[in-house]
């Protein structure tokens, strides 16, 4: 009997240990909860891009649209230029393939408008859609949701060839009467004006924007039944031929974030971002932000500092002349008052100092600061539509040369990724108690992350490699010589991540 009890106890012991080990493995594996099936997104280069270009060329040539050939790009008269340098391929969850091309120099392009050409292949049917985006991403708290306001189906069918205005976005589900175009039924709160029928298409097509993602059943009055909180899509009803089922297309949205895509989806290619070198060059321009002056001040303060100091970068638009002024900024000190860098449409980040008692590289809090400044500076009226013109510079101790402090800058490559990753960490209870304030969480997470990468710029870059940011170093051989920004990349040297400055990473 005793033997049986002993065996049973040993089994319990072994089970406990096994349970314990499996729990650890489980914990490591399940970090972000349930995984959703997502469309596959790929940026095409080389031969793959060439193949799609050729297919598109054939398709467009069959339409009534005229193609102007140029090396590397193809222009459609009066419709801007198709940019083949970046083609986004999206294969949705049903296997439908769409290609998105960026259109540049479209006559309607402005601070608030840009266009994409979507080449859609669903089963054997191929469609070309010119999508116009307007008033995108105006939400201060970025949510990656973009509405498009019109699109054109490019084909020989005269009916859908014309632009079709959408009567608004983001409102509640509307009712539908196929015979009577109803401008208001698409939901209120849209970004542009109402439905404006013209003889060319008003009798054929009717659009309704629905604020839900899943293709739900339609009520007896043809209204859409939506689940709360779901994202929008657009239903295109053909009133010329009522036997045709309504086409359902999604609002232009970031497919990385909203994978709910039963009927084909396409990615959005935004206007080209301003190259970081151009952004940094503007920061250093003595007639503009004049960052060199602030760099010099903070370098001189570094040896005796035991608190943080900072300057903001500010520019103000004069609406009457369209010109900018760049007023000098006051020194901000991290003592006495909990002052912060101001964020807003006139501010484009800034420069700060980490004193020698602490870390020489950027913190998680610095990355949040960059995101907040990027969000706050977004202002189409000020000509800022690319969301990457704010920077965050850092003056800190240079262990290799104590007389020549390190100057580095973070720049934004992809605000979507930056926002997504920052919020993912801020909202993770494994990093910080979620009942703390945002500022407290930033502070808590910063100190934790620093314990992982410390002074090491290369480890910093590795830690934040998916955050849509780049780090540039301001190379100045001595205090009086002209400096050059150069992009920091990482490589493994002796099994340690190290910073490299490649020749093509220098800003000229």
């Amino acid at each position: 009997m005793k033997k049986k009890v002993l065996i049973l106890t040993l089994l319990l012991f072994a089970t406990g240990l096994f349970w314990h080990c499996s729990e650890e493995i489980h914990d490591n594996a399940v970090t972000f909860g349930v995984k959703h099936k997502k469309p596959q997104i790929k940026y095409l280069k080389g031969a793959e891009a060439k193949l799609v270009m050729n297919q598109l060329e054939k398709k467009v040539s069959k339409s009534k649209l005229r193609i102007l050939g140029k090396a590397g790009t193809y222009a459609r008269s009066n419709e801007g230029t198709i940019d083949y340098s970046e083609i986004m391929q999206v294969i949705d969850t049903l296997g439908n393939t769409n290609y998105t091309f960026r259109i540049t120099n479209h006559p309607e392009d402005s601070d608030q408008i840009f266009h994409n050409l979507v080449y859609s292949q669903i089963d054997e049917e191929i469609k070309l859609i010119l999508v116009k985006y307007e008033n995108f991403d105006q939400d201060y708290q970025f949510n990656a949701f973009t509405t498009f306001t019109t699109y054109s189906l490019i084909s020989d069918d005269p009916c859908p060839e014309n632009p079709i205005p959408i009567s608004g976005g983001g409102g509640g589900a509307g009712s539908f009467d196929p015979g009577i175009p109803n401008p208001g039924s698409g939901g209120g709160g849209g970004s542009v004006g109402g439905y404006t029928p013209t003889p060319d298409y008003s009798s054929c097509w009717y659009l309704m924007q629905i604020p839900c993602c899943h293709k739900k059943h339609f009520g007896e009055d043809s209204s859409c039944i939506c689940n709360e909180g779901e994202k929008g899509y657009t239903i295109l009803f053909n009133t010329c031929n009522t036997s045709l089922p309504p086409a359902i297309i999604h609002s232009g949205k970031n497919t990385n974030i909203d994978p709910c895509n039963p009927d084909g989806d396409f990615g959005v290619l935004y206007p080209p971002v301003k190259p970081p070198c151009e952004v940094l060059k503007e920061m250093m321009d003595p007639l503009k932000y004049n960052a060199q002056a602030y760099i010099n001040v903070l370098k001189s303060m570094l040896p005796n500092a035991n608190v943080e100091y900072a300057f903001s970068f500010k520019r103000i638009l004069d609406p009457s002349t369209g010109s900018y002024s760049y007023p000098p900024q006051q020194l901000i000190a991290g003592s006495f008052d909990a002052v912060k860098m101001p964020g807003g449409v006139n501010y484009y980040g800034g420069i700060h100092l980490h004193h020698g008692k602490l870390y020489n590289t950027f913190s998680f809090g610095d990355i949040v600061n960059l995101l907040d400044n990027t969000n706050a500076s977004y202002s189409p009226a000020n000509g800022i539509i690319n969301d990457n013109e704010a920077v965050l510079m850092l003056v800190s101790v240079n262990p290799q040369d104590v007389n020549n402090p390190s100057v580095k800058s973070l720049t934004v490559n992809d605000k979507f990724a930056l926002s997504s990753k920052v919020n993912e960490i801020l909202n993770d209870p494994n990093w910080a108690d979620q009942s703390l304030s945002r500022d407290q969480k930033i502070e808590v997470i910063s100190k934790q992350m620093y314990s992982n990468y410390g002074h090491n710029h290369a480890k910093f870059l590795e830690t934040f490699k998916d955050f849509g940011i780049s780090m540039y170093d301001y190379y100045q051989p001595n205090a009086t010589s002209p400096g050059t920004w150069r992009k920091a990349t990482t490589a493994q040297l002796n099994n340690q991540p190290s910073v490299l400055y490649l020749p093509d990473g220098y800003c000229n």
Partner: protein
Amino acid sequence: MKNIILTLVIISLSALNAQTINIKEKVKFIPGVYFKDIDQVFDQFIGTYRYQNGNQLFEIKFQKKVHVPINGVFNCHIDMLVGGYKHVFDGLELHNGLAQTGTFPNPFHETIDSDMIQIGPAPGCNECNVGESFIIGIITNPGGNAPSTFYARKIIHNGLPAIRILINYSIGSAPEGAPVISFRYPTGEFIMVKVD
């Protein structure tokens, strides 16, 4: 025989419960893990410390909390140091929360807390001896606004037990025109002598 069985049962039950890891190895919270102050570093900081210079008086009181549950992380616990402070400047008492030390239901809501022990020398304690432990934590205004990170090292000052504490405010970003919040605590570096 009974003792062996009992011991094995206790061990297996605790194995079912959680794994204990030295808090020095913590980067982030992990479900099922107890981050324990195995080397009793926090114990060395327990007490009240005072900095007085001219018109400024700054006092900190530290208490240790053990096996604190982490909200939102299954079966995760940690040892912590919590505290309160008193700050008088130019005859004005900016804050006195010494009496509230250790009374908050959620220790992370105390005006001072630390759940992190580092091995020096390292940023925050460049002068630490090799292998010396120092603590890193958060100090805030009452209510949690204006948080700063502090780095504290146990030292002997003029023959008396003391701490060297560095309080660093990281300059973040706020919407233009947002009200400036005055610190209730000082920033910078201080030697604080143990008084209680």
